[in-house]
């Protein structure tokens, strides 16, 4: 559950646990919205390819980097645990 995250359609992200805010790109918003709604991280590349004009290999590489970045700044740390969403 990533219920500590509030993500608007415009890509404005608020982490309720830290009070920090972020601005996401359109595809970043799409990906994080998918995770918040319960999607498995492994399904993200095919979801992105289905919705955007992007090659599967490029999608997979970019998503890996995106998730690494989110993880690095602590956004993906689930509530009450140190368990993180991984690609």
């Amino acid at each position: 559950m990533l219920d500590h995250l509030a993500l608007s359609e415009s890509g404005f992200l608020f982490d309720a646990r830290t009070g920090l805010t972020y601005t996401l790109s359109r595809t970043g918003t799409f990906l994080l919205r998918s995770l918040i709604d319960g999607a498995d991280a492994e399904t993200l590349p095919e979801r992105l390819v289905a919705s955007y004009d992007v090659e599967p290999l490029v999608a997979r590489r970019d998503i890996e980097q995106f998730l690494f970045r989110l993880s690095d700044i602590g956004v993906l740390r689930k509530d009450d645990s140190d368990e993180e969403v991984t690609a």
Partner: protein, 376 residues
């Protein structure tokens, strides 16, 4: 019957007292309440802000002593009968705590911790909270600078050097510690507290405890912008279950009664550490009303002995941004507070046993003695 609530801390500079924020929250809950502002300085802007205090009075500084302060408060009480007193400044708290029963006997309710609990939150005793199960950074209380070399072994560097009452500096070396030790000892006296540095993020939590281990309500905030003194000039409410539990456990361990602000570090190791307890509402407490948890009003109701149900945790994502403005006031207002020690924006209640003629309505207009124009 309308309540009269007295609040101290009317300073409203870039390092504001909490009084104006407390009053705004009370007014939100009780527009009909009469508010008495109690100030220590004639230039405290809260005395002159429209819609804040109905009556403003000057108090003698707490350092003058209990007798002078209580005598002045009773004189004010005779003129403007006070139902509840909410003190908001660190330096005055020990005196008001000592006077709780004295005030209660005279019809002035408070909701404050007892003297022992208040003393336990002193910076030089914070480490004792570890014995109560509260996670606090390791610290050393220094009265003798010859012990500074031991800090490397006991705490390591960096560490935080804290004054007995105010101010804190990060020290990287024993030389730094010695520098800040002497500066803080000169400013605030001994001891100086050396606290282990906890790298991480600070959260501030305003709370009201029921005095029996229960938490009536709390609002956690992360500062978004700071003044050069490190005070919040903007912030946002946060919601974290671990932090909520930490706050509940801390208030329970202390059986804290009344308002307080907990300063909590979330360490980079994921742990939570209590770095300070301020035994009163913080200046940003109006955020609690903004977040739907009006803690100043809860304190008023608790002081009056009314039951207050524990509040659910505040929602995350409510922001505040502080601002400053230039308060225009007639010289007559300043005159009234300087010469008479009081300003009245509402009629002064007639004493119950007062014989006729009725007491005059004292307004700033009737107090004016200055000419409105001065010769060139």
């Amino acid at each position: 019957m309308s309540l009269t609530i007295a609040v101290t801390g009317m300073n409203a500079t870039d390092n504001p007292g909490p009084g104006v924020a407390v009053i705004r929250a009370i007014r939100d809950a009780c527009p009909d309440c009469t508010i008495v502002g109690l100030a220590y300085e004639t230039l405290d802007p809260g005395n002159y802000m429209p819609g804040v205090a109905d009556h403003a009075y000057l108090l003698p500084y707490p350092s003058v002593g209990v007798a002078a302060l209580s005598e002045r408060l009773l004189a004010i009480h005779a003129l403007t009968p006070i139902d509840v007193l909410i003190p908001t400044l660190d330096a005055e708290l020990p005196i008001w705590v000592r006077l709780q029963d004295f005030l209660a006997d005279r019809g002035i309710a408070t909701f404050l911790p007892d003297a022992d609990t208040l003393a336990l939150r002193n910076k030089d005793r914070l480490h004792e909270l570890a014995d109560l199960g509260v996670s606090v950074p390791d610290s050393v209380v220094l009265t003798d600078p010859t012990n500074i070399p031991k800090i490397a072994d006991e705490l390591g560097y960096p560490c935080v050097v804290k004054g007995r009452f105010y101010d804190a500096y990060v020290a990287q070396t024993a030389h730094d510690v010695a520098h800040w030790f002497h500066k803080l000892a000169n400013a605030w006296g001994l001891p100086v507290i050396i606290q282990k540095f906890v790298p991480g993020t600070e959260f501030d939590v305003v709370c009201v405890g029921d005095g029996e281990g229960g938490l009536i309500g709390s609002v956690a905030m992360r500062k978004m912008q700071l003044t050069d003194k490190g005070k919040a000039w903007g912030g946002v409410t946060v919601r974290d279950r671990k932090l909520d539990a930490f706050v509940r456990d801390t208030i329970a361990a202390l059986s804290w009664r009344g308002p307080c602000e907990l300063e909590v570090m979330r360490g980079d190791d994921g742990g939570l550490y209590l770095i300070e307890i301020n035994p009163r509402f913080p200046a940003w407490v109006y955020l609690s009303a903004g977040a739907g948890r009006n803690l100043p009003w809860a304190a008023v109701e608790l002081a009056l002995g009314r039951p207050v149900a524990p509040m659910p945790p505040a929602p995350a994502g409510v922001m505040f941004l502080r601002h400053s403005l230039d308060q225009i006031l007639p010289l007559s207002d300043f005159e009234a507070l300087t010469v008479r020690g009081e300003i009245h924006r509402a009629p002064v209640p007639e004493p119950a046993a007062a014989p006729s003629p009725p007491a005059p309505v004292a307004t700033t207009a009737t107090l004016t003695t200055f000419p409105t124009e001065f010769p060139a």
